[in-house]
Symmetry: C2
C-alpha cells in the first residue's frame, strides 16, 4: 500500500525525505554502530545535533543572541503552566481568547496565578484596539487556532512582553522574533514528532521563577544546560534537526509562506465558490493558512465525504472532536499537489451531490 | 559498518528485532499510509497501542486493577517533582539516600515540600533497620543507582506507602507491585527511547494534589485520559509497545532476571579474579545487575582500556562524568554474548598490562 495524502492536524505529515533518512540510518546512526535511539545524549555526536538544531532555528527565524532556544517535553499544556510560573512576577498575564487553545492556556494560567482576560472573540482574531493589557506583565495569544482554523495575520503591538503559542504555524512564515518575549511551539504540527516543544525566550525573562517551582518547569534549567539538564527526548530532537535542514534546503520560511498562501487559497476558493455546499464560519481576514476548517451545508453528507475522500487516498480530514465537520491541515510537509488533489475532489464531490 | 556491542547507560541498547520492525514500517504504519510519527494519537490504531502497552505492562508485572499505568513526559526529574506535589499531603516523604539519583530526587523534593532523610549510606543499600520513616507520608528509594552501580536485592518493609524509582531496573526481574504505592521508570534504560516515563500508581493515591498544581504534574490528569489529556510522545510509546511484546516473547521478567544474573556474574567474577587490576567499591550484596561499575587500579590505563575495547566493537563503557572509571550497562537488550565478549576482553587486557 502506498502513502496517502495526509491532512492530519497533529501529529501530522513529515517531509518524505526526512522519513526516508530516519529509516535508512535507524540501525546505525552517524557511524556509531547503534541507533540514534540507543546512544547517550551526552555523546559528542548527539550534542552536535542539539547545537545544530538551535543554530538552524536561529538562522531560519533570524533570532538574535538576546534569545535562548530551548527543547522541553510535555507539549503545549506544559507551556500553559510554565508561562505563568515563570513570567507572573507580581502581576500576571492578559490572555486573548479566540479559540480552543487560547482558552485552554487561560484556564491553566488561572489555576496557577491571577491571569486576566485581554479580550474574547469568536470566529476571528481580535482587533488591536480590542486588546486590554492593563495591569498585566505579559500579553498572551495563540497565533493559529488549530481546532478553529483562525490565524492572526498581524502582529499585535500592546506595550508589554508578548507570549505566543505558535505551535501550528511554527516555521510557516517569517516572523520578527524581537517583537516577542517568548514563543513556544509543540513540534508535532510543523517541525517534528510529538514529544518536544521548542521555546524561544528572551534571556532577561529567565530566572524569575519562584524557588519552589519544580526545576523542570523553570526555563532557566534548560537555558543553563543546552536543554540537557536531564535526558532530553533525543529522537524527537533528531527528527526536528532533519526537518530544519529540509526547511533550509527548500528555501526557508519565506518559501513556506509562499506555498501556504497557494495551498490555503486553493481550498478557500473551492469553499467560497461552492454556492454554500461547503462553508467556513471564520471571518475572511482571520482564516488560517494552516488549518482549513469547513462544514457541508448538508451535514448528512459529511460521512460520505470522508469515505469517498479516503477512497482517493485523501486522509485524516475529520474535524476536531470538539467542533466536528472537516479540517484539512496543510502544514509545510503537505505538498501543493496534495492540496490540488483535495480541491479537485471537493469540486467533484460538490457537483455529484449538489 | 556493523552494529557494535552497546553498553551505554541510557539511552541504551534496544532489542534488534524491535529496531528492525520500526525501520521496516517507518514510512507506512499499520496500513495507515503514513508513518507512526504522522498520525493522530486519537486514531483508533494508536489508541490500541496505548491500551495494549498498558495491558502488557500489567501482564509482565502481574499488576492488579488497584493500579493505574501512566505514560508521562519529562523523565525522572519530572517525577522527582510530581511525587511530592501529589503525595505530600500534610506530611511529606522520607528519602533513602545512597547514590546520585536518590540524592537528586531528595533535593527536588526539598525544593517543593518538607522532605526528610530516611537514611544516607555510600557504596551500598541501607539495611532495613537503618531506615527511619517516622513522620513521613511515604518512603522513597531508588532501587538501582545507575551511576553508582548499587542495587537493592530486598524490598524494604517500612509501614508507609513506598515510592520507588525503578528507571534502570524496570522489567529486569519479577516484583510485587502490591508492595508499592508508586513506581516510576524512565523508558530509556530498559523499555524504550528517551521521552516517556512509565508510572504505576495505586488508585487511592490519585486526586490528592493541591488545586494549584499544574495539570500536567497531577497524576490524575493522566489516569482520567488514558495518558492522552494532551498529545502523548507517540513514537516513544509505540517503541515501548514493541519492547513489551519482545519481553513477553523472550519469556518475561523471570527470564530477564535469569539472564541478568548470568551477565552480571560474568563481569563481577572477572573483576574479583583480576588480583586488583580491576576493582569495584560497592558492597558485594548491593552490587547492581544492571550497571557494573569498575575502575582500573592503574588509572593511567583507563584510556587504553576504552580505546582497545572500541577496537573490538565494545562501546560506550566510559563511566558517568561524575564518577569516572568504567561502567558496563547490561540491560535486557544486551545479550549474554556481548557480555562474554567484554569479559574476555577484560581478561586479555589485564593479562597484557598487569
Amino acid at each position: 500500500m502506498q502513502r496517502v495524502y495526509n491532512f492530519a492536524a497533529g501529529p501530522s505529515a513529515l517531509p518524505l525525505p526526512v522519513l526516508e533518512q530516519v529509516q535508512k540510518e535507524l540501525l546505525n546512526w552517524n557511524g556509531m554502530g547503534a541507533s540514534v535511539l540507543e546512544i547517550s545524549h551526552r555523546s559528542r555526536q548527539f550534542t552536535s545535533v542539539v547545537e545544530e538544531t538551535i543554530a538552524m532555528i536561529k538562522s531560519l527565524y533570524q533570532i538574535s543572541d538576546d534569545y535562548e532556544v530551548l527543547f522541553i517535553q510535555g507539549g503545549g499544556h506544559t507551556q500553559f503552566a510554565m508561562v505563568p510560573l515563570n513570567l507572573c512576577v507580581g502581576q500576571c498575564g492578559a490572555y486573548a481568547l479566540n479559540g480552543v487553545w487560547s482558552r485552554k492556556a487561560f484556564k491553566e494560567a488561572q489555576k496557577i496565578a491571577q491571569a486576566k482576560e485581554a479580550t474574547s472573540v469568536e470566529f476571528r482574531v481580535p482587533k488591536q484596539e480590542e486588546i486590554d493589557v492593563s495591569g498585566a506583565s505579559y500579553f498572551y495569544y495563540c497565533s493559529n487556532e488549530t481546532v478553529n482554523g483562525i490565524q492572526y495575520h498581524y502582529t499585535p503591538d500592546v506595550g508589554v512582553d508578548m507570549v505566543c503559542d505558535m505551535s501550528s504555524e511554527f516555521m510557516s512564515r517569517p516572523i520578527d522574533v524581537n517583537r516577542y518575549g517568548l514563543i513556544f511551539a509543540g513540534a508535532q504540527k510543523n517541525f517534528g514528532p510529538a514529544g518536544v516543544s521548542i521555546v524561544i525566550v528572551r534571556k532577561d525573562l529567565l530566572g524569575k521563577a519562584s524557588s519552589t517551582v519544580p526545576s523542570m518547569l523553570d526555563y532557566k534549567t534548560y537555558a543553563g544546560y543546552l536543554s540537557m539538564y536531564n535526558t532530553p527526548p533525543t529522537f524527537a530532537i533528531y527528527v526536528a534537526h532533519l526537518v530544519a535542514k529540509w526547511l533550509i534546503d527548500e528555501g526557508g520560511v519565506a518559501e513556506m509562506e509562499r506555498r501556504s498562501i497557494i495551498k490555503s487559497n486553493l481550498l478557500y476558493d473551492t469553499i467560497d465558490s461552492s454556492n454554500g455546499f461547503y462553508f467556513n464560519q471564520v471571518e475572511k481576514q482571520s482564516r488560517s493558512r494552516m488549518n482549513v476548517v469547513f462544514n457541508l451545508e448538508n451535514k448528512a453528507l459529511e460521512e460520505h465525504f470522508i469515505r469517498e475522500a479516503e477512497a482517493e487516498n485523501l486522509r485524516y480530514l475529520k474535524g476536531h472532536r470538539i467542533l466536528g465537520g472537516m479540517r484539512a491541515s496543510i502544514y509545510n510537509a503537505v505538498s501543493i499537489e496534495a492540496v490540488e488533489k483535495l480541491a479537485d475532489f471537493m469540486k467533484k464531490f460538490a457537483t455529484r451531490y449538489a
